[in-house]
């Protein structure tokens, strides 16, 4: 987070305050139960608790937005982070590859949970 004195958009200051509050609120929902629920089906009709978690992590991207790159059609997916510069493709975040889209999506979910829990 940047020093507030360096921010010209005061809305950004409010966003940081809001993000701190909602992150605390969402942390209380991060149970092994909802993590297991997401692992079972990242695209299912989820419980209200998991929906609240997903609603937050899908609308905020404090460390850049993650996406999946299909590196071999129907066989291999990897996790990448979007560049904020036009003309620069997303870059892979690590060496892991996944043999299903669902597993790769769950890995992204775990990374986002880890970010939420980081102090």
């Amino acid at each position: 987070m940047r020093e507030t004195s360096a921010i010209s958009d005061r809305g950004e200051v409010v966003f940081q305050m809001w993000y701190g509050r909602i992150r605390e609120a969402i942390r209380s929902l991060l149970t092994t139960k909802i993590i297991a629920e997401h692992e079972r089906d990242p695209l299912g009709n989820h419980s209200d608790a998991l929906k609240r978690v997903l609603n937050l992590i899908r609308r905020t991207a404090p460390n850049g937005k993650y996406l999946l790159v299909c590196t071999r059609p129907f066989e291999q997916w990897r996790i990448a982070r979007t560049s904020k510069v036009r003309g620069q493709a997303p870059t892979f975040v690590d060496d892991r590859s996944f043999d299903s889209e669902a597993k790769a999506m769950h890995a992204v979910f775990l990374m986002r949970i880890e970010e939420l829990n980081r102090r």
């Binding site: 695209l43 009709n45 996406l67 790159v69 997303p90």
Partner: protein
Amino acid sequence: MSSESIHGYSDRISVSSGQRIRFMVSAEGGTSYRADIVRLIRGDTNPKGPGPKEELIETSISNEYPARYQPVYAGSHVLIDDPAQLLNLGIAITLHAFIMPTTAGKGAQGILARWDPELRMGWAMVIDEQRQLALWIGDGVGHSLRVAAPTPLLDNVWYSAGTSYDSSTGRAIIDLRPLVNSVNSLVGPVAILPAPITHETITQQIKFSAESQMVFAGWASGSSATGATIVDGHYNGKIDRPCVYARALGAAEFDALATGREAGGVGPIARWDFANEIASSSIASDKVTDTSGNNLNGRCINMPARGMTGHTWAGRSEHFIHAPAEYGAIHFHDDDLEDADWKPDFELEIADSMRSGAYAARLRIRDAIDYIPFFVRPVTARPTAKIAFLAPTASYMAYANEHMGVGAGIEAIIGRTAVVQQQDLYLYEHPELALSTYDVHSDGSGVCYSSRLRPIPNMRPNYRHETGSLWGFAADLDLVGWLEAKAYAYDVITDEDLHLEGTTLINSYKVVITGTHPEYYSSAMLDALETFLIAGGRLMYLGGNGFYWVTSYFPGKPHLIEVRKGEGGSRAWQARPGEYYHSTTGERGGVWRNRARPPQKLVGVGFAAQGFDYSSSYRRMPDSRDHDTRFIFDGVPDDELIGDFGLVGGGAAGHEVDRYDLSLGTPANARLVATSEGHSDSYQRVVEEILFTYPGAGGTQDPGVRADIVYFPTLGGGAVFSTGSIAWCGSLSHNNYDNNVSRITANVLDHFMADDRLPST
């Protein structure tokens, strides 16, 4: 990524027997590439489906071709024709324009320039690297000067911007005055803005004659392989009423120009009024007119946006034809592109033996492959079948090269982590291939024009969308594959044909079938389908969110569409106030619903919700058991779920779904024969249906979030069958085409293509 790369495009998208189509190719990673023509049967590579299928067609173009790299030069500008070199001024000069920069901090950018960047020769009014208005002067032999305003420019604020220089005295003036009224700029008159300045300095005495071409919004830096002027230093923002004087004006004269008065004395050598091309109904022109009498006219390259509010916009008129003097601006973008302008590689004449269908030029260089899709249509008014598949090419163009996978908020919008393909990565690394109507320009303004004269990696038979599923052209090949598997004789026609030829194109068919997402419609296309249905034609709308955005084709340029996303509708951006009207036709942009043509009036259903996590299925309704609708479900058990399987989200009802709604014009005789259920909260009620907001607009709580299957007859023996879901066609191939979605589609098609009267309601 591998070093081989091959991409291309064609000059036409729809051709008939005897016509010729040219293909432009850029290939790297080898000395030659292979080209063949294939007929496309299926595209989807999903191993859970029947797999892709194409047939090699024997044509004269099958061959090896020399590989060459062909670059693309994006960015819009104006080139001035000056055969008499009137603008080759070398002693004294004044440059003036009203400007509204949108990314003043992006680096040096030309506003008005006759400048050779290599030799530093000529003259230019620019925004420099410090976001200051500046004058550049140079003689090309080592003498040059740069004079800049002391304060930086603000984005999205109108200015009167003037620069003058007299080589006999060395006097240079930068005159900069913010011109903010209540509506023309991002901020209003209550904002404290930098004070107007007239910055005067005595500097070197340099003669500055140069032979460069005059450019607005950049400077000429060379010539391309096709002889076109290459322009660098593209400007983002608006320019209004630029002019050039062959003498150096002073502060009092700049004051006159800033307030719209004459400077007095000898008039300008050129003064361009971009409102001059505003005709009685549109600005369908690339021309820029010099009103000084010197005939220093110019032409727009790469479609900068016209019909845009100028510095005098007062906010009372919203259409450029009603207040042309307030719409004297052109908005330039450094990522506009109308035509990649490559040299052609080969040309195909369509043989009589090439039956109507979806085709592609298949290009291969080592392991790299590309397909350039095109459609072979029958000769006008000579159908070869009872069925026409109307390929939604306007929608393909609207989505061409969309960058939503890396766009803001995409995870929330699609309800899942986006997944991108090699084709997407290529697009992201090659911004010169430009954008779609789902993107914003580098200055944040919406992309309102899209051209097909460029490589379009996301309109390919094997392309998968960021939702992890099929979309557009690739999804529509599921329908083509089904027609082939079921051995139906069919013609393929395109939106472009329908727009240009109207009902004549379709009135001899018994049945017209749409694609999965025929979202972008011109007035002429809607009129043609309406007339067809009134005259007894039968329409199968096998998609979702169709007939939605008002779309214009640039008259005389069928490769170019315009879409202004207005107030309402599921929109990637919204046109700025005063800019809702299409420059190319003068029509009000936005969703057809806001122009009194909701899709329900044409096909009985209209856009209700979208979500991309999973697709669901339909349940039959009481209307499906009536004597006049029973034929639809012949062979389908009464209590069977419809389409609880499929390759697009796992079900037939999903992605974007449409609903029956009498209040939006669904005909009263329409039968609601099936409706979907079980959608998740990723499916939210569309924004155009939200008046007051309240919780519970998602699929688990809102009864309006659903796909409806609707059937109704029209006058004269015509009829409409709508499935209201993008995912429908993705279920056709399930179980080797033996399933209830396939059966229902065939039941309806068999009845619609028969000469018999339909059961009447």
